[in-house]
Symmetry: C2
Subunit: 370 residues, 2 copies
């Protein structure tokens, strides 16, 4: 299966092999070595000196962890949303009793850092800003550096929680240099590892918030994670196999280095956008903010998305994802993060070139001839 989803992503052979290792005990010296090595590798790619923890959960679990470890019921929280995952951040915070104001930007566009700064200027009572780095549902990357700078200009000490689930490990996200407090990602994204672990960093400001925070937490308690990591352990039985896999994947990623990783994703994303446009298809996002991990493409008029989805799987062994929420049926999304090459993307474009006309789409002449 050519899995061109924005997560889970395909895994290299050595990572899959590691998944098949026999169990070891999670409170043994052998596991302590692995968790220390994994944590060190993650810190390099998070570009942080702060704490990083691996939680046995999905990215959504990490969003909950970010929220319940730093906020209290009634806290005023500004959530910056540009799609499904920004909205989800707001829902999680509301679920646990935060007093949430959502600042929305049109789906397919990026957040305006100045608008965020203005919102903070208008109301000094905000305790935290929650923002998505890379919005997987629309294929848009927020300029988190500019947003963080705008936020800090107005409120130097406000808590900044960043959903970097589909960006970290693929896109540049300088956790310390940009002064991001709690930042989360998921193993099934650019890390080239199966789903099952979420990785979260916590700044000293994040820990101060933790001490004040009164939202209830147990499974996702980051203070417990900190206490146990000091012993080379996790508080609860972790997804050991995913640690094996992440350990192997990080060896590759750390060797490549963050600059190499970022350049690779840029190159492959450029190839994807060029390919999509060559088929006469329209991108959802403005190219200035288009994501380098996932490309959202408008479903052309007259083409039925559910039919295309099934046709691609049944006859072309290729999976791409549809839109979510209000974009369901209106866009499809090609994932190109992690273990995916330019040839893989060329093959996906070739597949679309072959499949779309079967559902009534008329290719531009140049594409039909190629």
């Amino acid at each position: 299966m050519n899995l061109r989803s924005p997560g889970p992503t395909p895994c290299p052979d050595d990572v899959l092999q590691a998944m098949g290792h026999q169990m070891i005990h999670h409170r043994s010296p052998a596991f302590a070595e692995i968790i220390r090595r994994v944590t060190d590798g993650l810190k390099q790619l998070f570009e942080t000196q702060h704490d990083v923890f691996c939680l046995s959960a999905s990215g959504t679990g990490a969003m909950e962890a970010m929220t319940v470890n730093t906020l209290s019921p009634g806290d005023r929280v500004l959530v910056v949303s540009i799609g499904v995952f920004g909205d989800r951040f707001a829902t999680v915070a509301k679920t646990y009793g935060a007093d949430v104001t959502k600042i929305d930007f049109e789906w397919g566009t990026a957040a305006d850092p100045e608008a965020v700064a203005q919102a903070l200027q208008q109301d000094a009572s905000y305790k935290a800003v929650c923002v998505t780095h890379n919005e997987t549902s629309t294929g848009v990357t927020n300029d988190i550096e500019a947003i963080a700078a705008a936020v800090r200009r107005v409120r130097p000490d406000i808590l900044l929680l960043v959903d970097a689930i589909s960006s970290l490990g693929s896109l540049r996200c300088r956790v310390d240099a940009w002064d991001l407090d709690v930042v989360a990602t998921g193993s099934q994204k650019g890390w080239m590892v199966p789903p099952g672990l979420a990785m979260v960093s916590v700044s000293p400001r994040g820990w101060q918030a933790y001490e004040r925070s009164t939202m209830p937490r147990f499974y996702f308690d980051l203070g417990k994670a900190r206490d146990f990591l000091a012993k080379g352990q996790t508080p609860w039985t972790p997804a050991i196999s995913i640690f094996f896999a992440l350990d192997v994947a990080l060896k590759t990623l750390v060797a490549e280095g963050i600059d190499g990783i970022v350049a690779r994703h840029q190159r492959i994303a450029d190839a994807c956008r060029r390919g999509v446009k060559s088929l006469g298809l329209e991108l959802l996002a403005d190219e200035r903010s288009a994501s380098n991990t996932v490309t959202a493409v408008k479903v052309p008029d007259g083409v039925d998305w559910p039919k295309l989805y099934r046709l691609l799987q049944d006859e072309y062994d290729t999976l791409i994802e549809g839109g979510q929420g209000p974009l369901a049926g209106k866009i499809f999304r090609i994932g190109h993060l992690g273990w995916v090459s330019e040839q893989d993307i060329t093959a996906t474009i070739d597949t679309l070139r072959a499949a779309l006309p079967r559902l009534g789409y008329k290719l531009p002449e140049a594409a039909a001839a190629s």
Copy 2:
């Protein structure tokens, strides 16, 4: 490594092979087939017609799920504790605001069903009873059938939450016949699968409690799990590889059948207890309530547990676990659930026979000669 821990447990080759399968998408028809098959298999071994869900988390995550989906802050809850995991159930419930009364039984003994019934008789305000089926920390199995019957005699409609994390898939636990409302287990126990999934059943009474419950929940929301399972999905990206593995393991377990599984664990546990006693060592638990998944053994006088723990790993490639909490250093625990044979247990006993005298333990004459 001879992993003789009460979880994680070793995995058969075909299960490990399944762990190494390439990723598929969790909202694809291919995953829907797997989750339907896994859910069907689990229902057979839970002996339930009710709903069963797989959460991407450890057993502790499932304890949180049981709590936050059925209770409200202020609810009076009776927690029956016979060890670390009973205490943890109480802590989870308190963390989310329940008004918890704990009824404790001496560690190493089982709960007295009549004492539980009496506690319910004395206070009609309890909304729920939380109880551990198999207490991994002490190697004791509660007679959950008798406890459930005693509870129902006094309070036919009270909510009964059961931590069956280390029992289901190994010991008899008739969820429907015993009228248990919400029951949880973990993949890394008798299921012979790596850690990463927790499996939870919910009765109609459990769903009524869900509708009334006001504890906050998002990641562990079982109502969302129900809505998505109807589509062959999970609400959030699941630990897909563990589903692959559980699918394979369940084929073996369902073919063996629950009677076969229970008899196998009984036979191997008997062998373990006989072996331990043949070395002159003392069991922590009374044999009438000794667990068939884990045997707790008193560390003999004069033997230093941390030294024994390291010696067994470094020179005998064998891992057994120590005691937890107040039992740390006082007991060790031999796991014998899941993929473990009588020969494996014989080998463990032989290892102890060789290792213990090196740390000053004097074997009984018969054992020294054998």
